[in-house]
Amino acid sequence: MTGGFQPYDALMSLFREFAALPVAFDWAEKDSKTTRGHPRQRRGIRPDMKRYSAFAIAREALRHHTGWERAWRSPEPKKKYDAIIVGAGGHGLATAYYLGKNYGIKNVAILEKGWLGGGNTGRNTTIIRSNYLQDPSAAIYEKARSLYETMSQDLNYNVMFSPRGVMMLAQTQHEIRGYKRTAHANKLQGVATEFISPQRVKELVPIINIDGPRYPVLGALWQPRGGTARHDAVAWGYARACSAMGMDVIQQCEVTGVRTEGGKVIGVDTTKGAIDCDKLGLVVAGHSGVLAEKAGFRLPIESLALQALVSEPIKPCMNVVVMANTVHGYMSQSDKGEMVIGGGTDGFNNYTQRGSFHHIEETVRALNETFPIISRLKMLRQWGGIVDMTGDRSPLLSKTPVEGIFVNCGWGTGGFKAIPGSGWAMAELMAKGHSPLTDEFSMFRFREGRFIDESVAAGVAH
C-alpha cells in the first residue's frame, strides 16, 4: 500500500460524485467562464446530445442503462464535404475536431478503413510528456500536453489524463549533460521540467534500484505535469464530439484512390463510393506511404513494428512514469494495476503488427535490473503496432505536392502524446494554409538539410 491512503476517504469521495451533483455542475460552469454563451454551444457540442455526468449515470441506473444513446452516429457518406480526413485515429479525429471547434469547418467526414481508434491510438503505452529538446518539438508537444489537461472537460468524456509525472533517468555522464541541456531548453520554451537528484528519484519511485550496479541512477529529467491518459477514450471522446458537431465518422470505409485535377485534389474513391472534397488530410500513421502513393507522391517515411507489453495487474507500486534510455526501457503502472512497458522497434520494414521477440527480451532484461520487483511479475500480453519513421524521427505536418492535400504522419514512436496538439496544428494548417506549430515540420525539410532531431542530447528519440 502506498502511504496515507484511506479507503474510507476515497469511498466518501465516490459517494460525493453522486451526492453533490449541483456542485459538480457549478464547477463545470466555472471551467467555462472565460467565454460567453451556453457552455455546450461554446464547446460546439449539439445541445441535444446527452451530457455525461454522475447525474446522468444515476438517472440511467434507474432504467438499467437502457436509455444511453450512441456515442457517435453511424452515417452513410455524403456526396461532398468541405474537408475529408482519412484516418479515424486520435490524430485524424483531433484534426477534425479542431477544424470544427476552432475554424467552424464542420462539413467534414472522417474516413476509417477499420474501426476508429483501432490503430496506434489503441496500441501505445499512453505516455504524455513535452520535455523535448528542439523548439518545434517542444512547442507542439507542450501544446498537446496543455490540451490534455482540459480534454475531459472539453469533450465531456473522461480521458483520465493523469499528470502523475514523467522522469527520464540519467545513467551516464553523457545523459546528465544531455538532460541538463534539455532542462535549460525547456525553461526557455515554457515547459516545466527540472533535473532532479538520485535521492529524489528514489522518493518518487520507491521500487527503483538507484544503485545500479551496472548503471547507477545519477539523476533524472523530471516533468511533474507529464503523465498518462486512457488511450481509447481519447479517440472515443473526439469521435463523440465530432459526431455531435455534425461531422460524419465513417468506419469500415477504405480509401482506394485519390482523385486530382490540375494538381489539385477533388475527392477520394472509397469502398463506399466516390466522395468529393475541397481539402484532404491524410492522417493514417503506418499506412501513410501507401496512401501517398495513391495520391501520386512519395513520403520520406518507412514503416516499422514497435512493441509493447503489460504485466498482470498488481496493487499500486509506482505512481510516475519512468523512462530509462541507457538500458532501453520505459514503464508506468496503469490505473488497472498493470505495469505498462514499452519495447523497441525492429530495424526492418514491417506491416504485420508483430515484432521480433528479442526486443521484448532486451526491454524486460533491463527493467528486471532497474526495478527488481518486475522479475516476479508475469507478462500478460505483448503486441505490436506499425509506426512510420522519418529521416529525423520527427513528424511531418505538411502541405504536399498536390494542392489541397495535407499530411500528418511520421510520429514514429511518439504519437499518442501529441494527439491534441497535432490535431490543433493540423487543423490550423488545413484551414489557414500555415501554422506556427507546423512550419518546421514540412516534408520538404530534408531536402534543405534542416532536421528536427530529438535524439541528439541524450539519445532520446521519443
Binding site: 520520406p300 518507412e302 526492418f348 506491416y351 504485420t352 531536402r447
Partner: protein, 109 residues
C-alpha cells in the same frame, strides 16, 4: 523473429545474428547532383506493403553485407543474394513473379 540465410557463409540464422540495413540498390548521388536527387537518395525510401529489397549484414557471423528480397506484409523471404550487384538476380525476380504476379519495385519487375 526472422530466419535469414547468409549467402556468404551459408548459415541460416535467427534475426539476432543480423543487422538490418535498409533499402537495397540505392543509387548514390554526390557533389554535383541536384537537391532533389540527393533528397531522393537519402530520404525517399521505398516503403511497400509487399515485395521489398533490402540490405542486411551478418554482423554476428561472417560480417558480410548481403541483399534480401522479402515481403513486408507476410515476412516471406524470396531469397538472399550478393551485396555486390546493382539489381536483383534473375532467378530471384522469377521466383517473386511466380509467387506475386504483377509485382514491381522501383524499376524492377
Amino acid at each position: 523473429m526472422l530466419t535469414l540465410t547468409c549467402p556468404y557463409c551459408g548459415v541460416s540464422g535467427e534475426e539476432t545474428e543480423f543487422h538490418a540495413g535498409g533499402e537495397a540498390h540505392l543509387k548514390r548521388f554526390i557533389s554535383g547532383s541536384t537537391d532533389a536527387e540527393f533528397d531522393e537518395y537519402m530520404f525517399l525510401r521505398e516503403n511497400p506493403k509487399g515485395v521489398h529489397f533490402e540490405r542486411w549484414r551478418h554482423v554476428y557471423g561472417c560480417g558480410k553485407w548481403f541483399h534480401a528480397a522479402r515481403d513486408t506484409n507476410t515476412l516471406e523471404v524470396f531469397g538472399t543474394y550478393s551485396a555486390q550487384v546493382s539489381e536483383p538476380p534473375k532467378e530471384i525476380k522469377d521466383k517473386i513473379s511466380a509467387k506475386r504476379p504483377g509485382w514491381s519495385w522501383r524499376n524492377f519487375k
